[in-house]
Amino acid sequence: MNRFVRLGETDRPAVTVHVDGAPVEALEGDTLMVALLSQGGVLRQSEFGPEKRAGFCLMGACQDCWVWTESGDRLRACSTVAATGQRILTSQPEASWPNHA
């Protein structure tokens, strides 16, 4: 089930982001976080516990909302604008930043 609930500003053109290979419909101006959590409940798996995570501060301070591009770049979902053509992974691809602690 979706986590975020849209309360307005819904009259915007659609964009399509691919998340873990599957298309996700979002609206132009959405952050990646809003794009993902308007469709689903979580962003990623915690590396240190059993629980899934969905971000926390939304202002680029906590780094809880990291996702990755297929080429291995790390993005903060809360401060990256969603755009058609993006291909996002919710788990860290191999051979990227080695120290994710």
Binding site: R3, E9, G29, C57, L58, A61, D64, R74
Partner: protein
């Protein structure tokens, strides 16, 4: 003499007013801001293609928000504005910046740090579950993206923002099920003499509570948070708390917005080697400054909530005042009369802020009462029990030493969200005053950087 090099970090209320003062004095400052747009967090601007009017976004502060944004818009041609730019270090008289693809070092004659604030958090058992958000984050979701953080939202913690954001959610049509305030109502009565320093803001606060109750939102004062219930996959399913009367209650929800007022982002002041002092009123270590915003380091000035939490109105005044101080110190003519009047404004807001700290106290005692299985460090899942164990084994009683052994404060957020609670827990456990625990040292980079970043265009 060549034009002085003035760098302003932050484009919120303090940074914008500082930039305006520089431009009026004929100087073109560099304005470095992490945001995609100016405005900072409290006056955060929505994306260009959003259409909600100011009154809807900022309520009673709409006029101030609009004035600030319009000021920045008119300054754009007269300042070297660099959005989406992180300042990650200050050393060797230079500011070290990074954007998505580009890194730079910038020397300065005067540096104005207007770095703003983040939420102050007291951990609650279960706050790691998906659906727990910082209070400020819940406001960003609404203001900047027009979304609610959940289908049934509980606001839990304390501070003026608790009531403000809850009522903004109600007004926007979100389903707010409860506002749970750890501060007892009696604290607000005691704080009245100070709060009357700015009656209009006090009245705004009272009106918010009335509005929430009229909307049918359950409002509880003097509560103690016990647990955010949920499971690993689906996230938050409810909150459990103790009422002021001592009764345990549970409320079902799928989102919790939590926070206890704010804490300043002081890492850059620390890296610039500014002296810090313990502030007993807020139980925080703050960078020292004189009445105009001069830090202990020549050429480094501090303004707005990044120096001390005094609110957005104060930030506009202290930003301008610090810029005038810097311009004067650089030998440029400044209006001494205006500086005197700004000092008066800042003093009034300081009195009001003291009132807020009394009305919505940081519940420091809760840190020592956290059960051993409560996660203290959300980044790496380190529990209160882990930290207590480390203290027993190593005798660590100092914040940085305890961090080294336990990793509390070493994760992705670099201690922003666990550091203050961890210090309180250590102090209680070691039976020492919290100021003796010290403070986590600022470390460069102040936020994680990408290794792929180049050092030139």
């Amino acid at each position: 003499m060549a034009e002085p090099r003035i760098i302003i970090v932050g484009a919120g209320p303090a940074g914008t007013r500082a930039a305006e003062a520089c431009v009026q004095a004929g100087v073109r400052p560099i304005v470095l801001d992490e945001g995609r747009r100016d405005g900072g967090q409290i006056y955060r601007r929505q994306p260009d293609n959003f259409t909600r009017p100011y009154a809807k976004l900022y309520g009673s502060e709409a006029g101030r928000a609009q004035a600030l944004h319009e000021t920045f818009d008119t300054l754009k041609g007269a300042v070297d504005y660099r959005p989406e730019t992180l300042v990650w270090n200050i050393s060797g008289g230079q500011v070290w910046t990074a954007s998505q693809t580009y890194a730079d070092t910038l020397p300065f004659d005067a540096l104005l740090l207007c770095t703003g604030a983040t939420d102050r958090l007291m951990p609650v058992k279960g706050w790691q579950f998906a659906g727990s958000y910082s209070l400020g984050g819940s406001q960003v979701a609404l203001k900047s993206q027009a979304v609610s953080i959940g289908h049934k939202v509980v606001f839990m913690g304390s501070g003026p923002l608790l009531y403000l954001v809850a009522s903004q959610y109600v007004e926007a049509g979100a389903n707010v099920v409860a506002v749970l305030d750890t501060a007892p109502y009696s604290a607000r009565i005691k704080a009245l003499p100070d709060l009357l320093a700015v009656p209009s803001v006090l009245w705004n606060g009272v009106a918010l509570t009335i509005k929430l109750k009229r909307a049918g939102v359950a409002v509880h004062n003097g509560i103690k948070p016990l647990e955010i219930k949920g499971d690993a996959d689906r996230g938050v399913s409810g909150v459990r708390f103790r009422t002021r009367a001592g009764v345990e209650q549970e409320i079902a929800c799928d989102a919790v917005a939590m926070g206890h007022h704010l804490r300043p982002e002081t890492q850059l002041a620390d890296l610039a080697r500014c002296a810090f002092a313990f502030d007993p009123g807020t139980r925080q270590w703050l960078p020292e400054r004189d009445g105009d915003g001069r830090s202990s380091v020549a050429g480094v000035y501090l303004a707005g909530d990044g120096a001390k939490i005094l609110g957005a109105r104060s930030a506009e005044a202290s930003g301008r005042l610090a810029a005038l101080a810097a311009l004067g110190d650089l030998g440029l003519p400044v209006d001494k009369g205006e500086m005197t009047s700004l000092r008066g404004d800042v003093g009034t807001y300081a009195k009001f802020a003291r009132g807020l700290a009394k009305a919505f106290p940081w519940p420091s005692e809760q840190a020592s009462q956290l059960p051993d299985d409560t996660i203290l460090c959300r980044c790496e899942g380190v529990t209160a029990g882990d930290l207590r164990g480390v203290m027993r084994e190593t005798g660590a009683k100092e914040a940085n030493r305890a961090k080294a052994f336990s990793r509390v404060g070493m994760g992705r957020c670099q201690g922003r969200y666990c550091g203050l609670a961890a210090a309180e827990l250590i102090a209680a456990e070691a039976d020492i005053p919290v100021e003796q625990v010290g403070r986590l040292r600022g470390q460069a980079p102040v936020k994680p950087l990408t290794i792929a970043i180049g050092d030139d265009q």
